[in-house]
């Protein structure tokens, strides 16, 4: 062929990924605008910060999960990982009186659970769904056994600062979210590991046959997911000021929802971390709005489900149209 390869003339801001993010941002602004119209109190700084803080907690659980899903896996154990890590950390802080022991314990236990997930998938060749589904129950069970029906409460103020404190007028969890988001984004877009994760997610066989050390990369993805679950456990513990074996379980499905609403495909190979941030905000703002509109809590799951479905459907239609138009 003598036709020279033409250079990409489209500006990067119009890339499909950027467009998907922009769409979500606009949706959030529209909903926020509508809610402000109904009740001006919605737009108050305190309400907005409060909402973002809630979204942060959800995002932290969903962040590592996003990496795993982009890499073609799934981690159903993030919720119970958070439970167990929070319970262990609470016990460590209570016994030693030193919050840093708690931090060390939660980070270690979260990472170890992720490591075990990766090992089960690599060595036992278990599908990610099964391995992490098993881990969900094991970690949950361990938490019940460890707590023996007790609740640990009353964390020192120096520790609670992570969940309730402010820095430059912004709640600490939001800062933590910002850091985790930036780190994840760098991992995904500025490291060879991140590029390999996308390739693995898009086609695992081709990844293997391209010389990617798939098993080692996969292990690292699950370790990162475990690590962020451990970090989320600390923020939760600091915020709730108590740990008991029921705290993490209700978080799994919203976390998956945040990833999906953020535009990351459950089939792997696409998506990004900023999408998950927006997904978490979108889900939180909707619950907040429903409360504002005095919609009975029984309807909340229904609305959340509808949002997840619409988001997935919209991405599906857009991507299908794109692949058809070539």
């Amino acid at each position: 062929m003598t036709i020279p390869a033409t250079l990409d003339t489209r500006s990067p801001s119009l890339s499909p990924d950027a467009l998907a993010l922009l769409g979500r941002l606009i949706l959030i602004v529209l909903i926020a605008g509508a809610l402000t119209a109904v009740d001006p109190g919605f737009a108050s700084v305190s309400n907005l910060l409060n909402m973002l803080r809630q979204a942060s907690l959800l995002f932290l659980v969903a962040s590592g999960l996003t990496l795993v899903i982009i890499g073609g896996g799934l981690d159903l154990s993030v919720g119970s990982n958070l439970t167990l890590s929070a319970c262990l950390a609470a016990a460590a802080i209570k016994t030693t009186g030193n919050p840093w022991y708690g931090v060390a314990v939660a980070v270690t236990s979260g990472t170890l659970i992720g490591f075990t997930n990766g090992l089960m998938i690599n060595r036992l060749r278990l599908p990610p769904f099964l391995a992490t589904f098993g881990m969900l129950w094991v970690a949950q069970g361990a938490a019940y056994w460890f707590m023996a029906g007790q609740t640990i409460y009353g964390m020192p103020m120096s520790f609670r600062y992570f969940g309730t404190g402010f820095f430059l007028g912004v709640p600490l969890p939001i800062w933590i979210t910002l850091v985790v988001c930036v780190v994840c984004s760098i991992i995904l877009h500025r490291t060879t590991f991140g590029r390999e994760a996308y390739f693995m997610g898009a086609n695992q066989t081709a990844a293997l046959l391209s010389g990617i050390a798939v098993e080692r990369r996969r292990l690292l993805l699950y370790v990162l997911s475990g690590l962020t679950a451990g970090i989320a456990a600390l923020v939760y513990l600091a915020r709730l000021n108590a740990a008991e074996p029921g705290i993490g379980e209700p978080l799994l499905l919203p976390a998956i929802a945040a990833v999906l609403v953020g535009g990351t495909s459950l089939f792997g190979g696409s998506g990004n971390i900023v999408g998950t941030v927006l997904g978490a905000i979108l889900l939180t703002i909707i619950v907040n709005g429903l409360n504002l509109l005095n919609v009975a809590a029984t309807w909340h799951p229904f609305v959340n489900g509808a949002v997840v479905l619409i988001a997935i459907l919209a991405d599906f239609i857009v991507s299908r149209r794109r692949s058809e138009s070539g």
Binding site: S15, F199, L209
Partner: protein
């Protein structure tokens, strides 16, 4: 044209009228003229062998006959009446059945249930299936074939040969009058094959016509009443068994006499890059191969002869159970990723499933195998990757809007070039190319040949698997020929001809 017109077919000339006629069947796929005006007469009670190389059009012919493909031109007649075969169901209704190489039995249904799958209504009584009657009917059919299988046995518990027999029984239960068998002995033992031949003899006595697809000369000689040879989608000749010698048949399969091939430019190979001795895997036995720098080595053989398995074993994609592989004089690393880092590259046969991440863009695909080498620190620079990709696009002449076009939307030839780009970027020195020109257009084909030349000139070693003999003979300095998961011959210099390969392949 209305499908129901009964043209010709005068009742008077029925004495010698064929049971089934294909008349001027023509079929094209994008880039391939698969069948060129093929006409075929199938008579009741005869075994009609269809002989041809890979890609001669045998599978397309079967699929057209079975209603899985619609012919572009031509038509089909059954007993002199023109018929429309638009769907497999039409073929069934006309008494045409196909035993494919892949069986379609449901593992956890028993033999009787498999035979009457979808037709249970025939045994309905008060809205329930009369199981006893169904098993009795299945029994009769099996007895007819001389088979003593228990009709209650699950398909999952049957061996390959037994499953094949059940498929045949199923076809007969549908009153098949034409039974098409696609390489029926490919996966069964010699003893089982003999039982199959006995069954075929039984069927022809019952006036069933057998269309037998094969390339095994022995079977062709033993079974075939009539033999039709296909080449490049056209019928070369159709003869009775004794009208043609085996050598003439081989000649008809390859077509042009071997003297007419273009002269190769002799190359001067350098040091050995890869040396494999006595490699065995689950699917290979005792493979020994040497590849030197600056040469193209062919792997010839039929599909399923173990060619792909050899390159996979060399690449580290399948575990080896015996033998050893040396790379540049020292023992090859065991893992696949380490072999890639040692300079090996694989262009897989199925590029969409194994070579590319289709939803990702050209940049991600073209740089994936070289990330370790280009960004040694682990930090990835999109700008650098962008530059590299533009360079590769220009070097290989990939026709694309830009580096961010998803590879799914590229043509076959351009997709293949992206796979090659990936390995060029990785600085590979040993290229294992599995059917590199399959499904690519003529222009891209020539460019791939040119690229192979460049690689070899640059001191790389190249292994090429190809089912197209002219391509193989033209491209390679020498070739290993495979049959039944073994290397059965090595041809170089003047000995490397299409005819020599084919003779080794068909085992004369």
């Amino acid at each position: 044209m209305p499908a129901a017109t009964a043209a010709g077919g005068h009742p008077a000339d029925h004495a010698a009228a064929p049971l089934l006629r294909l008349i001027d069947i023509d079929k094209s796929f994008p880039g391939v003229h698969a069948l060129r005006s093929v006409s075929l007469d199938i008579h009741a009670g005869e075994v009609h062998v269809i002989l041809g190389q890979n890609g001669a059009g045998k599978s397309t012919l079967i699929k057209t006959l079975y209603g899985a493909h619609a012919a572009d031109k031509g038509h089909i007649e059954v007993e002199g009446r023109r018929v429309a075969v638009a769907r497999p169901a039409d073929a069934s209704a006309l008494g045409i059945a196909v035993i494919f190489q892949e069986f379609s039995l449901v593992p956890y249904l028993d033999i009787a249930q498999n035979i009457y799958l979808g037709r249970e209504a025939a045994f309905a009584r008060f809205g329930l299936i009369d199981s006893a009657a169904m098993h009795a009917a299945a029994r009769t059919i099996l007895d007819d074939l001389g088979l003593d299988y228990d009709t209650h046995a699950y398909a999952a518990d049957l061996g390959v040969a037994q499953q094949q027999m059940v498929e045949i029984a199923k076809a007969l239960s549908q009153n098949a009058r034409v039974l098409v068998m696609d390489e029926p002995t490919a996966a069964i033992s010699e003893r089982e094959a003999e039982r199959l031949f006995a069954t075929i003899a039984r069927l022809t006595q019952k006036n069933v016509a057998i269309v037998y697809i094969s390339h095994r000369m022995k079977e062709v000689q033993m079974l075939g009443d009539r033999i039709t040879i296909l080449r490049d989608g056209a019928v070369v000749t159709s003869v009775l068994r004794d009208e043609m010698s085996q050598t003439e048949m081989v000649g008809a399969m390859i077509g042009r006499p071997s003297g007419s091939q273009l002269a190769r430019t002799p190359r001067a190979p350098g040091d050995p890059i890869l040396f494999a001795r006595g490699i065995s895997t689950a699917k290979l036995s005792d493979i020994s191969i040497e590849i030197r720098a600056g040469e193209v080595v062919g792997l010839a053989g039929l599909v399923g002869s173990g060619r792909t398995e050899v390159v996979r074993a060399l690449f580290g994609a399948d575990p080896i159970t015996g033998g050893e592989i040396a790379l540049s004089g020292s023992r090859a690393p065991t893992t696949l990723d380490a072999r890639v880092r040692a300079g090996m590259a694989l262009l897989p046969e199925d590029r969409k499933r194994e070579g590319l991440a289709l939803p990702l863009d050209i940049r991600d695909n073209a740089t994936v195998a070289s990330l370790w080498r280009r960004f040694t620190s682990g930090w990835f620079s999109p700008a650098a990757a962008e530059r590299d990709t533009r360079g590769l696009i220009a070097q290989l002449g990939i026709a694309a809007h830009g580096t961010h076009q998803t590879v799914r939307t590229l043509s076959g030839g351009n997709q293949q070039k992206v796979v090659l780009a990936k390995w060029l970027a990785a600085g590979s020195r040993l290229f294992l190319l599995d059917e590199p020109t399959r499904g690519v257009d003529v222009g891209a084909k020539a460019e791939i040949y040119r690229l192979i030349d460049q690689l070899v000139d640059g001191g790389a070693g190249v292994v090429v698997i190809s089912s197209e003999l002219p391509e193989l003979v033209q491209l390679c300095d020498r070739a290993y020929v495979m049959r039944d998961h073994r290397i059965v011959g090595h041809l170089d210099d003047d000995a490397l001809t299409e005819r020599a390969i084919l003779e080794l392949v068909v085992h004369q």
